[in-house]
Symmetry: C2
Subunit: 716 residues, 2 copies
């Protein structure tokens, strides 16, 4: 809820987020061609009614700003024209504003002494209010009204939502080298923005070839993105490239691109003095931090944070060079990292709205079966980390319709299989993984999604749904082990075909079953040995699934092992020159092999959000901080050095933070909101500066943290 | 299907029609306030892919025009930029064009020697074509492709669908009178268009009060529509009224209005020389005609045709002054009249698409229960009159989802009742008609709608649906008489409450049951006496339901009686000065009483499409021409003088016409397509110029008309 007293622009929940995501998703290009996505692009309601019951103590003039054609109705009576000011008479009134906008989202901003737009206003796309022959208005008690949605940054009449832009700042090139008749310009690290020419003159063409690597920029035939500029005098004539900012001689390209290098060739008849870039970014307050004694780990955390900075935009996108799209499985990881970095709840909500889109549901999220489930999981985590019940009640109707879609496609066992048109993704391991029949991985995610539905039904006060989904979840949970657990292999098998267990074992379902707590402690230990630490089981080569693999190991206390793998894998990318983390990394690849993917020499994204998982792992499993109850009202702190000498850092909470320092003798904790247990291992009885340390197991202790002061614990 | 060889602009079926209808529906104003409708306003798919498998004999350059941001893919490979020309290489290829447009409808126009856009192109809003890690494209066999839709008038690259406008021509005032310090301008008859000021000068305000009547225009406080213009020099400063056309001194208002009179007041400091209007209309070829010996009847037909001309626009609207909206029950009658006047199939399709909108269905059509059913009935008639199977297959998916909505709201008896938020309209007779429980009227329409579903399922080759809907229709049909027929009253009762017949008898269900042939011949005769010709049953005061009342009487051969009522009722309006037919007419009203409705002194519309029913009745039941099989492949001609001395006229067919002349001795028929029987009554054996007259009953004869020549029959 919007708790401050400032007026904000408001709209129908999800509509602006979907509209903005369309603008963003449609920025993808491939070698100069527009490249939109292949699933349904939804749109906003073009006609929306906003309303509020008001009670003004004295006549009050309100300022009205609207995006669209609109009318104002006071107590059922239409007012003349589309006024910018309007005086509300004393007393109780119904104020209704109805807006039509096809190109952008119907939105209003009302600002008076007491009457202001915020999310206490109601909105509907269909008021169903008609007038009968006698002039009597209809019964609108069945009309569905939602709470309006708005962002706190749109807090003035002239801050139009349709005009929203990310921030920019000009960055200069680090080196400029003449190569093969062109210029190779290096901006020093992976970056994202608009090329900007200074002192452009003459007449002719300029070609720009972008590269995340030097190899890509120099390969004019195969680089993934490029631009071409036609200059005539100081006028740019190529209409495909509009000019967004210009003085006498500065030209900024219209579409931002991802690159570290740009290779520029041009006709001799055209010239420019300098090529800079306008770095485009979402201003974020970095509220989380991590430091330790190992500089390589610190560097991994920093490169992860920078990867997140580049991929946190209007929404969380996958990677900045190629797709620039919102992908549910990718976004789900961004959410988790975000809770340990910026705690930017708005961007989580934006991304969830955008991914879900509008009804009717005509495909899985991004067409991918597993991505539908990650969407539900993202809602679950959002509530757990933020405690924001309001969002759950707003989004719940779309959770229902998406789950209806899933349930409408289950087989005779009540399980999901990929049907024609469904992408069963799991991970990039095509050719090594069977995608037919009932995949255990999909059923595990499906079960968790049903549990999420039950939880959210409860929050939305829908007890019928709650019991329906609890039953469905319990039924599916009960089938998981009988269907997939193989006693000989001591693992969940990858899939079943025609009710018969297949022989392949993959890591995917096993690791999710571990941290979803779907297994007995014995089974978890068996899986650790038979799958997670078993080199004969197909290795994971994407940071995407490594995220969960390492999380599963951490959840079983293998922080030392994970630290080693983190340094090998993410450290490995850095040693290969990475300034942001990659879409996929195979340590045995050499040179340009690292750049290829999808059958294209530079198909791989070198800045991919899912590459930044150390942010999450270090916060949740080394600093050891996580919410136990919604919004950190209760938290757990179980720090683990994982072989390091000391660690320190901050984990943001909705309205505060938890700070932790740990070395081999001391733990210091400050939690500015919530309460919860600090749990740790000590060989002898520890001492705390405040509170009573309880022994809970051999060498295992806990201490209740409840209060804003720092608590220091001495242990051995 | 588009059978000519010209390239046309194409789009996703229904999308442009919905978009255009939004523009049109949103032109309603009430005393200067924007007045959009109260049901969901749908929108187009913002991202659409067009595709075509082509085979070119020699390399061919195509011209490409697109509304939106787009890409071109040839054989799966994206092409650079957004070219206006593109050369297709020799051979077989896949050509795909993907377009994004938020503000207007994604549409393309491709024109080459052999490759041209038409409705053989496929479209989808979701191609589900992704690329796996190895670069392999997905299986898109489950992707839903529709045939593209386009209008034949958009046949050049520069005829952009988004720029479509109705035609205009300047009309001058008939009289200008100075009254009470202002000018009362009379345009001589009901009209529709944009006011246009000539030689506007000075600085100040001009107020324009519109009236369909003199009383309304002069009543500045209560007239339904008005405009205000702020002039500064020769600049108009009021931004609510944009200028659409201007030379040095001509100002045309931005929004068209309906009126006969305009009362203009102004500041002394502002002046103009002349106030004209730009008449706005849809150019139509009037293919139907009717004439007879009675000049009053001819005038009724002509005023009806003018009423239709004014209300036939981008779609068929209800009335031109107030709503200017598409209402399903109103449109249904416009369709029927249109088949006897312009046979403008495109506008029927446009209106059907616009009324139906997009999924999900969240309310009845226009929120009105009966209007949902009239939508289905309109589809049924469209097929019967035009034989256009292609449209049925295009619209069938939306028929399914609308019927699903209806079926999801039936009660334990499988019948419909008005639930909260459903408008049970029937007719304007609020206060005199019970709208609770199961109305017989709604069930009769529901049964016919289910029959329509079964028919269209068959046309769409959906045999499962066909049998499902046949069963549902038969079940409901079987319940109608047991539920509603009252043997004592010899009529269908108005409604049932809690399974109990209520006592009220109204005309509505009885007359529909007659011409839907849901009754035995005996029951029909009983109803004629007990209801239709029974003055103690509540009279109908809207032309809307008089349409069906008179149709029911005509269907039972009461043309003479109907002719009398037509002359009384429609003749009555003309005697009251009507230049177009009204929304409602009560012959006992006096003076300004004729103008009031909805509790407002000028609430009534004086140009309402549903007022024009004589067009339909005279064509179908006097000229006696109607299709028996789809598209007039078989027709029936059963002319009836109805007390007149002679009648003559033309009824259009999809690609031809049927001409008929009849007096008391002769019938002349020319049918340029189809075949069918001419049926007539003669006291003695008639003679025909061609073919063999068969006797089919006492005094009843028939003659097969099959051939394009005129056939003359002499009878007594």
């Amino acid at each position: 809820m919007n708790n401050n007293s400032a007026a904000i622009w408001i709209w129908y929940p999800g509509d602006y987020e979907i509209w903005l995501a369309n603008q963003m998703n449609n920025c993808r290009t491939e070698r100069g061609a527009f490249f939109p996505h292949f699933w349904k692009m939804d749109s906003h309601y073009v006609l929306v009614e906003f309303s509020k019951k008001i009670d003004v103590g004295e006549a009050e003039e309100i300022e009205i700003a609207v995006e669209g054609t609109f009318n104002i109705k006071l107590d059922g009576k239409l007012q003349f024209g589309m006024p910018k000011k309007f005086t509300l008479p004393t007393g109780k009134h119904s104020l209704n504003i109805k807006v039509w906008n096809q190109a952008a989202v119907p939105a209003i901003f009302v600002n008076g002494k007491t009457v202001k737009t915020d999310n206490s206003w109601k909105v509907t796309y269909e008021d169903k209010e008609w007038i009968d022959e006698s002039g009597k208005a209809s019964d609108t008690s069945a009309t569905i009204y939602m709470a309006a949605e708005g962002w706190t940054n749109f807090d003035a009449a002239d801050k139009l939502p349709s005009q929203y832009k990310l921030a920019t700042e000009e960055h200069k090139a680090v080196t400029v080298t003449d190569v093969q008749g062109g210029q190779l310009i290096d901006f020093g690290k992976e970056t994202f923005g608009f090329l900007r020419f200074h002192a452009l003159s003459g007449k002719g063409k300029i070609n720009m070839y972008y590269g995340e690597s030097k190899e890509e920029a120099m390969d004019t035939e195969f680089c993934e993105t490029l631009d071409q500029l036609s200059v005539d005098g100081n006028k740019v004539t190529d209409e495909a490239l509009a000019i967004t900012s210009s003085t006498e001689e500065i030209y900024t390209l219209a579409n931002s691109k991802a690159f570290r290098y740009v290779y520029v060739t041009k006709d001799a008849s055209v010239d420019f003095k300098e090529l800079n870039m306008l770095y485009e970014f979402k201003p974020e307050k970095q509220r989380g931090s991590f430091k330790c004694n190992d500089e390589e780990v610190n560097q991994i955390w920093n490169v992860g944070a920078y990867t997140m900075q580049l991929t946190t935009r209007e929404c969380f996108i996958d990677g900045i060079k190629r797709d620039r799209w919102i992908w549910s499985g990718d976004a789900y990881q961004s959410y988790l990292m975000n809770y340990y970095l910026n705690f930017d709840s708005q961007t989580v909500k934006n991304t969830s709205w955008a991914l879900r889109g509008k009804d009717p549901v005509t495909s899985h999220t991004n067409t991918i079966l597993d991505y539908t489930f990650f969407w539900f999981l993202g809602i679950y985590d959002y509530y757990l980390y933020t405690g924001d019940e309001h969002f759950i009640s707003q989004v719940y109707p779309r959770m229902q319709t998406l789950m209806d879609y899933v349930l409408g496609r289950t087989n005779k066992n009540g399980m999901v299989e990929g049907l024609t048109g469904d992408w069963v993704f799991v991970d990039w391991a095509d050719g090594f993984m069977d995608k037919h029949g009932e995949l255990s991985f999909e059923q595990v995610l499906f079960a968790k999604s049903l549990e999420t539905m039950a939880l959210c039904a409860k929050l939305a006060n829908n007890t019928a749904d709650q019991s329906k989904y609890e039953k469905l979840a319990a039924n599916l949970r009960a089938k998981l082990l009988p269907a997939f657990w193989n006693k000989t292999k001591k693992a969940l098998v990858h899939n079943r075909l025609n009710d018969v267990q297949q022989s392949q074992i993959t890591r995917y379902s096993n690791m999710f079953a571990v941290f979803f707590n779907y297994l007995s402690p014995e089974q978890k230990q068996e899986i650790k040995k038979s799958v997670l630490m078993n080199d004969s089981v197909m290795k994971i080569s994407t940071p995407y699934m490594r995220f969960y693999e390492l999380e599963a190991l951490c959840a079983m206390g293998e922080q030392k092992q994970v630290m080693k793998e983190m340094k090998d894998y993410w450290g490995g990318m850095i040693r290969e020159g990475a300034t942001s983390f990659w879409e996929k990394y195979n340590p045995t690849d050499k040179g340009a092999q690292h750049l290829a993917m999808y059958g294209r020499p530079y198909g791989k994204s070198l800045c991919h959000a899912w590459g930044a998982s150390p942010i999450y792992l270090l916060g949740k499993y080394y600093l050891g901080i996580q919410p136990i109850k919604a919004g950190y009202s209760e938290f757990a702190i179980a720090p683990n050095l994982g072989g390091l000498k000391w660690i320190e850092g901050t984990v943001p909470t909705p309205n505060g933070e938890i700070k932790l320092f740990m070395d081999t003798k001391t733990i210091k904790v400050t939690a500015t909101e919530g309460k919860g247990y600090l749990t740790f291992v000590s060989k002898s009885k520890p001492k705390a500066s405040k509170g009573t340390v309880e022994k809970i197991d051999a060498d295992k202790y806990r201490l209740l943290i409840d209060g804003k002061e720092e608590v220091e614990v001495n242990y051995k």
